[in-house]
C-alpha cells in the first residue's frame, strides 16, 4: 500500500567516458585500416547474412595479415620482427632499410644507407635497431636517424640480440664473434673463433648461447665468457647453411650443403632426426609453437613437429616471387615473414604463434606508458654477461671448486675438519661380544643421532 517512488535513474550508473577510455586497449590504427577494407566488403557482408559480424572481422583481420611488398629494386631482404611482434624491420641487400608497423601497414621510417646491408636487428625495443652494413655496424632509431657507428664491429655478417642481457652479438666475415652491451654501449668481448667466415648464426633463447655454423660442417656454441667454443658438433658433411634453435632450447635444427635437415637434442647433443631435402634448406626458422619453416630457393615450406615423429611431407608450402634470403615467424601471430629478392611476403601459418602472451613479459598490446615501464624494468633486471653458459641455472649452485679449496684451507688452519662427520666406531669388546651382529646393533643405537642437527656446527659455521 506504500506508494513506491519511481527511480529517476533506473539501472546501473553509466561509466564516465573518460574512464572507459583509460581501459580501452583496442587498436585504433587497426580499426582505421579496417574501415577501408570494410568499405569494399560491406556489400558482401550485407549479402551474406549467415555469417556473424564477429567472424567477418576475424576473417578480415587474418586477410590483413597476408600481404606482399613488392620491392624488387633493393634486392634480397633480411628481416626481423620486434619481440612483441608489432614491428617489422626490413633490410634490403642494396641498402634499403625500413621499419613498418606491419599490422596496420604503417611505415614508420624508410632510409637507404647507400651501402650493402648484411643484416638488420631490432634492439631491446622498437625505438632502435642495428644494421650491419658493408664495413661497420650502425645503430639507427626508429625514425631512421643514425645514432651510432660502431667502428669496433667491422664486416658484420649476422647479428643476434640477447634481450635479457642487452647484448648484441655479431659474427663477422673475419671470424670474430663480438658482443656489444647496448645498455652501456661497450664491447663486452671479442672472440676470434678461428673458424673462417661466420655467415650462419643463431641464438639459443633458453641460455643465450650463440650458435655458429661453419663451412666445415660443424656447429659451435659460444658464450662471451670463454674464448673457446663451449661445444663443437659435427653436424653436416658439407657446410652448414642455416640453423635455428627452438624456444625451449632443447632442439636445434640445422641444414647443410649436403642437402640434409637435421634435428639435434641440445641436452644430450645427439641427433634426433635426419631428413633429406631434394634441394636443401637455405634458411630455417622455428616458431613459438614449434613449427619449422625452411626455404628452398623460392619455395617456403612449413613443417610440423619435426623432432617428434618423422615428417614425410610439409604442413604448408608456398612459392614466393624470388629467392628467399630471410625468414622469421612473427611472435604471437600466426604469421611468417619471408624476405626475398623481390620484396617481402607475410604469409599466414595457422598455429605458429603463441596465443597466450604474458603481459608482464612481452605485451603486444602495450600502451606507450607500459612500454616505458617495461623498458625500465627490463633494464633493472638486466642479466650480466658473466652468467651466460650452457646451464643457466648454474648461478644457483655452490661453486664447489672454490668451496672445497676454502674448506681445505680452513681445515688446515683449524687442524681438524669442522664439517667432518666422525663415524661412530663401536668399541672392541671381548668374549665374542664384538660379533658383527652385536656391532651392528650397537651402531643402530646411535644411528638416529646423525639425523639431528648438530647445534655447535649450526652456530659456528
Amino acid at each position: 500500500a506504500v506508494p513506491q517512488k519511481k527511480d529517476p535513474f533506473p539501472g546501473q550508473a553509466p561509466i564516465p567516458v573518460e574512464r572507459v577510455k583509460k581501459f580501452v586497449r583496442g587498436d585504433v590504427d587497426k580499426v582505421d585500416a579496417l574501415s577501408a577494407w570494410i568499405g569494399q566488403y560491406t556489400l558482401l557482408m550485407v549479402e551474406s547474412a549467415w555469417l556473424d559480424t564477429d567472424i567477418w572481422f576475424d576473417i578480415l583481420f587474418s586477410l590483413l595479415q597476408y600481404f606482399n611488398l613488392n620491392l624488387s629494386q633493393f634486392g634480397p631482404y633480411r628481416l626481423d620482427y620486434s619481440r612483441a611482434g608489432r614491428h617489422l624491420l626490413l633490410g634490403g641487400r642494396r641498402g634499403h632499410v625500413s621499419c613498418i608497423e606491419w599490422q596496420s601497414k604503417a611505415l614508420i621510417s624508410e632510409i637507404n644507407v647507400m651501402e650493402a646491408v648484411n643484416d638488420v636487428k631490432w634492439l631491446h625495443n622498437e625505438a632502435m635497431f642495428a644494421v650491419a652494413q658493408k664495413k661497420w655496424l650502425y645503430v639507427y632509431d626508429s625514425k631512421g636517424v643514425e645514432l651510432h657507428c660502431i667502428r669496433k664491429f667491422n664486416d658484420v655478417l649476422r647479428m643476434e640480440f640477447l634481450p635479457y642481457h642487452f647484448l648484441l652479438a655479431t659474427a663477422s666475415s673475419s671470424g670474430f664473434l663480438q658482443y656489444l652491451d647496448v645498455s652501456v654501449g661497450k664491447e663486452v668481448t671479442a672472440i676470434g673463433t678461428k673458424m673462417g667466415r661466420l655467415g650462419v648464426m643463431t641464438q639459443n633463447p633458453h641460455n643465450a648461447v650463440i650458435h655458429l655454423g661453419h663451412p666445415n660442417g660443424t656447429v659451435s656454441l659460444w658464450s662471451p665468457n670463454q674464448k673457446e667454443a663451449l661445444v663443437k658438433m659435427l653436424c653436416h658433411r658439407g657446410a652448414v647453411r642455416s640453423l635455428t634453435v627452438d624456444k625451449t632450447g632443447m632442439y636445434m635444427v640445422t641444414s647443410g650443403l649436403d642437402r640434409k635437415l637435421k634435428v639435434y637434442d641440445l641436452r644430450a647433443f645427439k641427433p634426433l632426426q635426419s631428413y633429406f631435402l631434394p634441394a636443401g634448406a637455405a634458411c630455417l626458422s622455428l616458431s613459438q609453437r614449434g613449427l619449422l619453416c625452411a626455404s628452398m630457393g623460392d619455395v617456403v615450406q612449413v613443417y610440423r613437429d619435426v623432432w617428434g615423429t618423422s615428417v614425410k611431407k610439409p604442413y604448408m608450402a608456398h612459392r614466393v616471387r624470388g629467392a628467399v634470403a630471410g625468414l622469421a615467424f612473427c611472435p604471437f601471430e600466426d604469421v611468417l615473414g619471408v624476405g626475398h629478392a623481390e620484396g617481402f611476403t607475410s604469409m599466414i601459418v595457422p598455429g605458429a604463434g603463441e596465443a597466450n602472451f604474458d603481459g608482464m613479459a612481452l605485451n603486444p598490446y602495450a600502451s606507450l606508458r607500459q612500454r616505458q615501464e617495461w623498458e625500465v624494468k627490463t633494464l633493472l633486471e638486466k642479466v650480466q654477461p658473466d652468467l651466460i653458459g650452457l646451464d643457466p641455472s648454474m648461478l644457483g649452485t655452490v661453486d664447489r671448486a672454490t668451496w672445497q679449496q676454502k674448506h681445505q684451507e680452513r681445515v688446515q688452519a683449524l687442524g681438524f675438519d669442522p664439517l667432518a662427520h666422525e663415524k661412530f666406531k663401536p668399541r672392541r669388546r671381548k668374549k665374542g661380544r664384538s660379533s658383527s651382529g652385536a656391532v651392528e646393533k650397537r651402531k643402530r643405537k646411535v644411528a638416529h643421532e646423525d639425523q639431528r642437527v648438530k647445534k655447535d656446527k649450526y652456530y659456528f659455521h
Binding site: N225, A229, L234, F276
Partner: protein, 755 residues
C-alpha cells in the same frame, strides 16, 4: 695474640644464645679486620647487657647507697661505701656469672686455635668464582631469547607495542565521574549486576564458571583420579599377592593381628556405643557358633589326640574315633542341591534365539546404511547366516518389508555391478583372455542363471549362488587353462603368463597391421637406425667410423613445389664448386676427429719422469738408466674424470670452468646451511615479483628488522622475556561504585622499563 681466642669465645657464646641481639654477630672476615675494636666491643657488651632476654635486666649500679635512676649524682657523697656492701653484692651474684666464669676457664683450657683468615688473593679468587657463577646464571637466562631473536624471520621494534586502533575512553580520560542522574542510574545498575564496563567482558559469575572449567582444574582433577586409580590398583595387587601367600604362619599372624585390632575397636565401641557393641557381640557369637558347627571332627582336637593314643590298646576308643571321622565326613560333604537360579539359567538359552549373539542385530531401521547387506557379502560364512535368517525372527520388521522391496532391487543392481567389476578384475589378472569354449559356455550358463535369479528377486539366494559361482569359476579357470594349453601346446609348461603375452603380441601385431594399411619399410629401418647408432659407436671410441655418425639414414621429404628459380650461372657454378669441395673426401670428418683427439691428449695429465741418468749407476752416451729406475722415478698423475663427450664421437665439449660465473656464485655456505645441496635447493626458488605473486614476494622479501618511525627503541629488558609467574594477572577493573571516579588508567607501555 689472644684476640683470636677471644673472638672464638664470642662466637661460641653466640651459638649458645640464639635469641640474643643479632647485632653481635660478626663474620670471621670482619673479625679479622677489626680485631681490637671487636674485643673491646664484645667485652663491653658482655658486661653491660644480660645474656638473654629471659634473664631479668639487672640494674646498673654505682658503688653508692642512693642511686638516682637518671644520673649519677653526688648526693650520697657523705655516705661512704663500706666493704661489706660490696661483699654483699658479691654474694648475690647471679648464676650466669658462674657460667661465664666457667666459659672463661674453658677458653683458657682450649688449646686449638682458629684457622688463619684467608689471604687477600685467595679471598678474591673465591669471590670472583662466586660472582662468576652468579652472573653466568643470570646471563644464561638470556640465551633462549638471543637465539630466538637470531633465528626469527623478522624482528619488530619496539618490542612491546601499543595496541593499534582506537582506545577506550577510560584509557584516555581519567577522573571522570558519573554526574548526570542518567549516568548515575546506569552505573548503579551496572554495579548491581557486577557488570564490568570494559576489558574483562565477563561477569564474575561467568568468570568463576570459566575458571571451574579451566584446563588447569581439569588437569588437576585428572591427575587426582589417576592417582586414585593407581592406588586402587596397587592395593588390589597387594591384596592379591597377600592372598596367594601360602605360609600358614603368616596368615596366623595376620589373623591374630586383625583379631587384636578388632578387639580393640570393640572395646572402644563398648565405651562409646554400647548398643552397637551389643549387636557386634551378637554377630561375633553367631560367627563363633558357625565356626564351632563347621569344625571338622577330625583328629586334631585334644580329645581326639588322646583317643588316638588310646586307640592302640582300646577298642572302644578306636570305635569312638571311627565315629568321629564318619561324622566329619558327613559334615564336610557338600550338598549338591540344584538351586532355582541354576534351573532358570539352564532354561534361558533355549528361550533365546541364536541371533541374539550375532554381532550385528537390527540397526536403526530408519537408517538405510545400517541395513545394508552388501557388506556381509564379503564374509563368506555369514552369507549362509543371512540365508537362514528367517523373517519370523523379526516380526516387527514385517511391516517394513514392503518398503524395502524397491531398495532390494537397488541392492540387487548394486550387487550386479559389483559382480561385473569382479569379473573385470579377474579379466585384468589375465584369466579371461584365453577362455576356452567350455569356459565360455560355462560362463554363459552362469550369467543366465544369474539373470534368472535376479529376476526372481530372491536376493539372498542369488547372492549366495553368485558368490559360490564366482569362487567356483576362479578355481576352475586355471585348471581349464592348463588343460586347454596342454592339449594345444605340450611344450609350454607354465601356461598363464606366457600364453597371455603371446596372445597379446599377436593381437598387437594384428592391430598394427590393421592400422598400417600401407607398410613403409624404409620408415622402420630408419627408426632402427635412429634408435641405436651413437650407442653402437660408443663402444669402440677409437675406431669410430665417423661417416656412420654423420650419415644417419635420412628420410626423404617429398616437396610439392620444386624450386623453380633460375639461378644465375655464376652462382650455380660457385655452389657446385663448394659442394665439390665439401664432398672431396672425408676431410671434414677426419679433421674434426683429429681435433678431438688432440684436445683429449692435451687435457690428459702428463707423466713426470724424474730419473737422473748417471745417478747411482754409470751414465753416458748410449747408456740408459735401468728400467727399474725409470719405473721408480716416473710419477703417474691420477687420471682425470671422464670427459663429458666421451661417448659422443661427433661432439667436443669444453671442459673449462666458467671463471666469470664463479665470481657470482656462492662459495661459502651462509649461516643456517650445512650442505651445498640444501642451499642450492633454497636458492633455486626465485624471490622477485617477476616470478611470484605480490603477496608472496612481499613475504619473501620481508625485511629482517622492522622499526617504527619515531618510536624509542629501548634495550631489551628482563620483563620482556621472563614471563610473569601468574599469567592470569587480574587486569585493573573499574570500580563501579556510584560516586567513585574512574580508576586512573594510564596507557600501558609508557612507563620506562628498569634495567
Amino acid at each position: 695474640w689472644g684476640g683470636s681466642s677471644l673472638v672464638g669465645n664470642t662466637l661460641a657464646y653466640e651459638q649458645e644464645d640464639p635469641g640474643s641481639n643479632p647485632t653481635y654477630y660478626h663474620s670471621p672476615l670482619s673479625c679479622s679486620e677489626g680485631k681490637g675494636y671487636l674485643m673491646v666491643h664484645t667485652l663491653v657488651n658482655f658486661h653491660i647487657f644480660p645474656l638473654s632476654h629471659r634473664k631479668k635486666l639487672t640494674e646498673r649500679s654505682e658503688a653508692s647507697t642512693q642511686v638516682s635512676e637518671f644520673s649519677v649524682n653526688a648526693e650520697g657523697e657523705g655516705e661512704k661505701v663500706k666493704l661489706s656492701d660490696l661483699l654483699g653484692k658479691m654474694e648475690k651474684t647471679p648464676k650466669n656469672l658462674n657460667k661465664t666464669k666457667k666459659q672463661l676457664k674453658d677458653l683458657e683450657k682450649k688449646s686449638d686455635t682458629l684457622e688463619l683468615p684467608l689471604s687477600r688473593q685467595e679471598k678474591e679468587k673465591i669471590q670472583r668464582e662466586v660472582a662468576y657463577v652468579k652472573t653466568s646464571t643470570e646471563v644464561s637466562r638470556w640465551e633462549s631469547v638471543v637465539t630466538q631473536n637470531r633465528n626469527a624471520e623478522q624482528l619488530v621494534f619496539p618490542l612491546i607495542q601499543e595496541p593499534s586502533g582506537p582506545k577506550r575512553i577510560e584509557q584516555v580520560v581519567s577522573g571522570w565521574k558519573a554526574q548526570t542522574p542518567l549516568e548515575q542510574e546506569i552505573f548503579s545498575l551496572l554495579h548491581c549486576n557486577l557488570q564490568p564496563t570494559h576489558d574483562p567482558v565477563l561477569t564474575p559469575v561467568e568468570e568463576a564458571s570459566l575458571k571451574a572449567m579451566s584446563l588447569e582444574e581439569a588437569k588437576i582433577r585428572r591427575a587426582e583420579l589417576q592417582k586414585a586409580r593407581a592406588l586402587q590398583s596397587y592395593y588390589e595387587a597387594k591384596a592379591k599377592r597377600e592372598r596367594k601367600i601360602k605360609s600358614k604362619k603368616y596368615h596366623k599372624v595376620q589373623s591374630k593381628a586383625k583379631r587384636k585390632e578388632f578387639l580393640k575397636k570393640f572395646e572402644d565401641l563398648c565405651k562409646t556405643d554400647p548398643q552397637a557393641a551389643l549387636e557386634e557381640f551378637k554377630k561375633m557369637e553367631l560367627l563363633r557358633m558357625e565356626e564351632r558347627m563347621s569344625l571338622k571332627h577330625q583328629n586334631s582336637g585334644k580329645w581326639a589326640k588322646s583317643k588316638v593314643i588310646m586307640g592302640k590298646y582300646d577298642l572302644v576308643a578306636r570305635k569312638a574315633m571311627q565315629e568321629q571321622l564318619e561324622m566329619n565326613k558327613d559334615l564336610t560333604q557338600k550338598l549338591v542341591v540344584p538351586s532355582e537360579d541354576e534351573e532358570q539359567e539352564q532354561e534361558e538359552p533355549k528361550a533365546l534365539p541364536d541371533f541374539v549373539n550375532d554381532p550385528e542385530p537390527v540397526g536403526d531401521p530408519a537408517n538405510p546404511w545400517m541395513r545394508g547387506q552388501l557388506s556381509a557379502e564379503a564374509l563368506g560364512p555369514e552369507v549362509s547366516h543371512e540365508v537362514e535368517r528367517p523373517t519370523e525372527q523379526f516380526p516387527e520388521r514385517k511391516e517394513e518389508e514392503e518398503e524395502e522391496e524397491p531398495e532390494n532391487e537397488e541392492e540387487a543392481l548394486l550387487r550386479e555391478f559389483e559382480q561385473k567389476r569382479r569379473l573385470r578384475q579377474s579379466e585384468d589378472k589375465g584369466f579371461e583372455p584365453v577362455v576356452s569354449e567350455e569356459q565360455e559356455v560355462d560362463e554363459a550358463e552362469n550369467r543366465e542363471a544369474e539373470e534368472e535369479l535376479s529376476e526372481k528377486g530372491e536376493k539372498d539366494d542369488e547372492d549366495g549362488l553368485a558368490e559360490f559361482k564366482n569362487l567356483f569359476n576362479r578355481l576352475v579357470e586355471p585348471v581349464i587353462l592348463e588343460t586347454g594349453e596342454e592339449q594345444g601346446d605340450e611344450g609350454l609348461e607354465e601356461g598363464l603368463v606366457r600364453i597371455h603375452s603371446l596372445d597379446d603380441t599377436e593381437l598387437l601385431a594384428n592391430d598394427h597391421e590393421a592400422s598400417l594399411v600401407e607398410p613403409v619399410p624404409s620408415d622402420t629401418s630408419n627408426m632402427e637406425a635412429s634408435a641405436c647408432p651413437p650407442s653402437k659407436n660408443s663402444k669402440k671410441v677409437k675406431v669410430i667410423d665417423p661417416s656412420e655418425v654423420l650419415t644417419k639414414q635420412a628420410k626423404v621429404i617429398k616437396v610439392p613445389h620444386a624450386p623453380m628459380m633460375v639461378e644465375d650461372e655464376e652462382v650455380r657454378n660457385e655452389q657446385t664448386t663448394i659442394i665439390k669441395e665439401a664432398f672431396a673426401g672425408d676431410d671434414v670428418v677426419s679433421d674434426f676427429l683429429k681435433d678431438k683427439r688432440k684436445l683429449e691428449e692435451d687435457s690428459m695429465p702428463k707423466v713426470v719422469d724424474l730419473t737422473l741418468p748417471g745417478w747411482g749407476e754409470w751414465g753416458g752416451v748410449g747408456l740408459k738408466p735401468s728400467r727399474f729406475k725409470r719405473r721408480k722415478f716416473r710419477i703417474k698423475p691420477a687420471p682425470l674424470p671422464p670427459r663429458k663427450d666421451q661417448k659422443l664421437p661427433a661432439v667436443i665439449i669444453s671442459e673449462k670452468r666458467n671463471a666469470a660465473l664463479a665470481a657470482h656464485q656462492v662459495c661459502q655456505l651462509p649461516f643456517p646451511f650445512t650442505k651445498p645441496e640444501q642451499f642450492e635447493r633454497t636458492i633455486c626458488s626465485p624471490v622477485g615479483n617477476t616470478w611470484n605473486t605480490h603477496n608472496v614476494m612481499r613475504k619473501l622479501t620481508a625485511p629482517k628488522v622492522v622499526t617504527q618511525m619515531g618510536a624509542i627503541i629501548e634495550p631489551i629488558a628482563k620483563d620482556d622475556f621472563i614471563k610473569d609467574k601468574n599469567p592470569s594477572k587480574p587486569q585493573p577493573n573499574l570500580q563501579l561504585t556510584k560516586d567513585s571516579s574512574l580508576a586512573k588508567t594510564a596507557p600501558p607501555g609508557h612507563k620506562r622499563r628498569k634495567k
